[in-house]
Amino acid sequence: MLHDTLDATDRAIVLATQEGLPLAPRPYHAVAESLGLAPEEVMGRMEKLLAAGVIRRIGAVPNHYALGYKANGMTVWDVDDARVSELGRRVGALDFVSHSYRRPRHLPQWPYNLFAMVHGKDRTEVEEKARAIAVLLGDACRGHEILYSSRILKKTGLRFGG
């Protein structure tokens, strides 16, 4: 999976850091030592991975459930194809939307082409936020639904074996 764009050293760095950085004063030095690399090389390569977007960001990954965001609704919208890109960008910029994508419709069962994941303390809050999205989309939107998750069946995340 990692073989197209990253070399062997990049892959080693990904594998050594994907579970987290060492909680030591010099974390990049610790990673470098475990891989037999110079600290400057680890830091230089991570800078490049960050600039290339292979690393989205470095920092704290919160458990949103522990922060009190106990309701998550996948809101799905049937938006005019001519306007979905422009409106999708505005939906993605809302501070309560964590992910937003354009995806294909499957007519007749599935008319929705815009997906936005909305998090809230409870379903009432998710519904309020969905109403704010509806206002933003205005007459470009022909309908929407909110799909709540009722059970996690599997959650292994994306992990790379190298």
Binding site: E19, S85, P104
Partner: protein, 148 residues
């Protein structure tokens, strides 16, 4: 329980952690606390599972490979069997039950487009159900911004 300093750490450090010799010292200085205090608090927030991880968040799609979101409409009496069959495939990363006629939604990750088609076909064959494929066509990004 989180105190104000914990909340400031979670809110300020969801991105932008520096790449330098002493990054915790630099981040701590921005928060007005000492390096060792930041490290100790991060250890505790991880142990208490307020944070799932602290470090780089990788964008799997930028590393090559194929990803998709797929869904099925699973008859209630068959739900457990189908969930087991889908979850048994290592290419299935997440699987959620959702309240809808399409009641099973899962993310599939594979090395290539060809492998993706094969996995979706295999799921359809193993379960006898139609698999609706929702590959991403455009991403409206997306900065996680959970307020603590």
């Amino acid at each position: 329980m989180m105190d104000d300093t914990d909340r400031a750490i979670v809110n300020a450090l969801q991105g932008g952690f520096p790449i330098c010799d002493r990054p915790y010292a630099e981040a701590a200085a921005r928060l007005g606390i000492a390096e060792e205090e930041l490290i100790a608090r991060l250890e505790r927030l991880l142990a208490e599972k307020v944070l799932t991880r602290f470090g780089p968040l990788y964008n799997a799609e930028r590393m090559g490979g194929a990803f998709t979101l797929a869904a099925m409409s699973v008859p209630e009496e068959d739900f457990e069997r189908v969930a087991e069959a889908v979850n048994a495939l290592p290419q299935v990363a997440h699987n959620y039950r959702r309240e809808h006629a399409l009641n099973m939604w899962f993310v599939v990750a594979t090395d290539s487009r060809e492998a993706m088609d094969a996995v979706l076909r295999e799921i359809a064959e193993r379960t006898g159900l139609e698999v609706f494929n929702f590959p991403k066509e455009e991403e409206f990004f997306l900065e996680l911004k959970f307020a603590a």
